[in-house]
Symmetry: C2
Subunit: 465 residues, 2 copies
Amino acid sequence: MVQKQILLNAFSMNCVGHINHGLWTHPDDRSTRYVDLDYWTDLAKLLERGKFDGLFLADVLGAYDIYGGSLDIILKEAVQLPINDPLLVVPAMAAVTKHLGFGVTSNVMYEPPFLFARRMSTLDHLTKGRVAWNIVTGYLDSAARAMGLARQVAHDERYDLAEEYLELVYKLWEGSWADDAVVRDREGRVFARPDRIRKIAHAGKHFQLDSVHLSEPSPQRTPVLFQAGSSSRGQDFAATHAECVFISNQSPAGARDIVATLRDRVAHAGRRREDVKVFMGITVVVAPTDAEARDKYEEYRRYASPQAGLAHFASATGIDFSRFAPDEPITHVRNEAINSAVDAITRRETGWTVSRLLDQLALGGRYATVVGSPSTVADALQGWIRDTDLDGFNLTRTVTPQSFADFIDLVVPELQDRGAYKTEYAEGTLREKLFPGTGARLPDTHAAARQRYPHEATAGSPRAE
Amino acid sequence: MVQKQILLNAFSMNCVGHINHGLWTHPDDRSTRYVDLDYWTDLAKLLERGKFDGLFLADVLGAYDIYGGSLDIILKEAVQLPINDPLLVVPAMAAVTKHLGFGVTSNVMYEPPFLFARRMSTLDHLTKGRVAWNIVTGYLDSAARAMGLARQVAHDERYDLAEEYLELVYKLWEGSWADDAVVRDREGRVFARPDRIRKIAHAGKHFQLDSVHLSEPSPQRTPVLFQAGSSSRGQDFAATHAECVFISNQSPAGARDIVATLRDRVAHAGRRREDVKVFMGITVVVAPTDAEARDKYEEYRRYASPQAGLAHFASATGIDFSRFAPDEPITHVRNEAINSAVDAITRRETGWTVSRLLDQLALGGRYATVVGSPSTVADALQGWIRDTDLDGFNLTRTVTPQSFADFIDLVVPELQDRGAYKTEYAEGTLREKLFPGTGARLPDTHAAARQRYPHEATAGSPRAE
C-alpha cells in the first residue's frame, strides 16, 4: 500500500506577530519586513523549494482590544496589528513560483460578494488555478465597529449569512459563464458567445444581485475552499462547503475525535469522507540533534512575549485575563467558542490560571509543538497522521523565515527518505494537486455543483437568467 | 527657462477591449492574454524602459447593456467585459520595476472604505510609494444592480457620498498613526508606540467607523489622487481633492477652457493652480514616416469594431443608438453627462448621426488622435501642451503592446531630443516624481491635511480618538 503523503502549508499572515508572539525581537527574525515585496517573493521561492502545498495566509479585520481594554501590548509587540491585506501579496509570489498554492482569508460579513467573487476569479486566473479561500465569519466586535456596526452579528446568524454568501458566489463562479462561452475567435470576431453567458439574479435575505459575473471562467472557477470552524454549526458548514479544514488540538485523541466527527458530517452531507483534507496547526523547532533543537527552542523562548500571547488569547476567548491574579483559578462562563479555544491549547478538565497560560502561550502553545532532530520531528508528524487520520499540517512560523528554512533543509529530506512526502509536485491546479485525479473543478457531489451553468444549450439573450 | 516636461501615463484596463474596440482581432494584439501575469510584468518593464510616469488602470463594475438592451456586441467584442480586478495586477508589476507608478480605479459607491483604505496602504507599502487612486463614483445602473440596488444613487448624492468617503479614508491614512508611531525597537520591545496611535471615530450620514487604521503609515500615506469628473460638481470635487485630473477633448480650444476652469477652481479651493496636473486622453499611431503611420492607421482600422465603440458610447451617454436609422439626426434630451461625453468625441454644435458616430468611434475617436512620424507626433504633443496648459497625456492602447512599444521606440527619443521628456526618472515616490520638491506626503493646503495626526504629543490610550 502506498504510504499517505503528508500535506503541508506554511501558515503566515501579512503582519509582524502572527501566532508565536514576540519573536520579531530575535536578531534573525525578518517579519518586520512584511511591507516589502521581496520578503514575500523570497518566502514563496523558499516554500516552493521545500515542495510545500501552499502558503496559508490568515487575516483579521479588527484589533485585539480585550486584554486590559487597551491596545498597549498589542501595538508594542505587533500582535496582528498593523496588518495588511493578504490578497495583494499573492500576485508577486505567483510570478516567481509555478506550483505553490496560496490560501487567502476573506470575511463573508464584510467583503461585498460581487466584488469578492471578481477578486478571487482574478487571482485564480493570475495564479493559473493555485488559489484557495479560507472562509471566515469573524469573531471580533472591534471588526464590526470598524465596519460601522455597533457589534457583530450573532454567531448562528453569521453562518446563515455565510450560507447565502456561498450560494451567491457559487452562482457567479460556476453558473454565469458556460465552459464554452469564451472562444477567442479572431477571424469570426467572437471573443465570447452571448448565448452561453447568463445573468445571475439573486434575491435573498442578506444579498441581492442582478448581473453577469464580471470574470470569464478561471482554471478552478471556485477556489479551493478552506474553513476552520470548530463550533457545531461551523463543522456543519465545513461538512457542506470545505475541501480543506484547519483544526488545532494538543492531543492525538482530541484531534482524532475532531477528524472523525468531521468526516462523519461530510459523509452525511453526501460527500466522500476523503473529500475533505484536514490540516492541523503545528509549531516545529528543529536542529540537527535533539539537544540542539532544545537549545534553539530555549533561545527562541527568551525572545518570546507570553504577555502578547495572552493578550491575543484574550480576544480569542473574549476573557480579559488582566482581571485575574497570576495564580487565581480562572472561572468564567464557558461557551462553545471559549471551550474550543481552550481545548486547542490545554485540557479543559484541568484548572487554568494566568501563570499557566503565560507558560503555555510563550512559544508554540496555541498549537501542538514539536522540538527535536529531523528524525524526532518526522516521527512525531508521522505519528499524528497515523493516529488521527489527519492529512497534513499548517506549519506556524517562529523566527521567520529561518524556521521555514530549517524545516525545509532538515525535516523535508527526512520525510522524503521515509516516502512520506512528495519529491516532485504534481501538475495541474491546486485542487488537482490536493485531490489527485479529480480535475480542476469541484466534484459533482459538492454544493457548488448545483449552481453550475446548465448542461443544455440555452438560447436567447444573456439578460435573462 | 526650463522647458515643461511632458508627463505620460499608459492607459489600460484589466480586460480585452478598453477604448479602441475590436483590435483584439489583429494578429499582433495580445490583449486576450490579460489573464496572464507575464502580460502585465512584460508591460510594466516596457513602460519603465520608456520612462512612463505611470500605468493608469481604468475599471468598471457593470456591463454596458444600453445598446439594443443586450450584451451581444459587448461580449462578442469583449468591450470591457470580461473584466478583472485592477489592484491585483499591480504587485507583480511592482516587483519587476523600480520607478513606474500605478494608478488604480476604485469606486467609492461600492468598496467599503475601511477595507479599501487598507488595500491602498498595502499597495503603497509594496510599491514603496508608487500608487495612485483614480476616484470614481460610477455611472452605470448595471453596476448598481450588480451590487444589489434597484438603480444607482443620483449624481449629486454620489458626490456627497464621495466627499464623506474621502474624509473618512483621509482620517485613516493621515490621522490614525503618528509619523513616529512605528519605532521597530527590538531591544526595547516596542514595535509601535500606543500613545502615538489613535482610533478614528467617524459617525457620518453614509458611513460609520470606530477603529484604528489597520496599516502602519505607508510612504505616501494617501495615494496620489486622480479624478476625471467633467460635470460642474465633478470639477468642484477635483478642485478640492485631485492631484491629477484626466480630461478628454478633441480641440485645443476645448481642452484649454477645461484646464483654465479647473485651475481657477483649484485656486478657489485654496491650492496653487499648479497643484493639479492635467492629463488628456490621446491615441497615437506612429511609424517612421507619416505615410507609413497612415498605412498603419488604416491597417489597424480594418480590425476595429465601430459597432463595439458605439455600444460602449451608448452606455457612456445612456442613449440606445440602435433605435436610430444610420443617417437620422440624433435628437435626445441632453444633460451634463451626455454633453461632456459628446464634447469629448465631437463638436456639440454640429449634428450627429449613427453613421457619423460609427466613423468617429472606429479607431481613436473617443480621444484626440495623432497619426504620423515621430516628428509629427512630437509636434502635436508639444502643441497640445503649449496651447492648452495641459501637463501630459494618458496614452490609449491600440494594438497592444505594440502601440506602446512603437511610442517608446519612436516618439520618446524624439521628445527627449527636444528636451521635452525626462531621460532619467527622479528618485522618490510617485508624488515626488510628479511634484518635484514637495515631498512624499500631500501638501498642507490639501483637504487631507486637516485630518492629520495632531502635531502635539498625545497621551493616554489609543482607544480614545
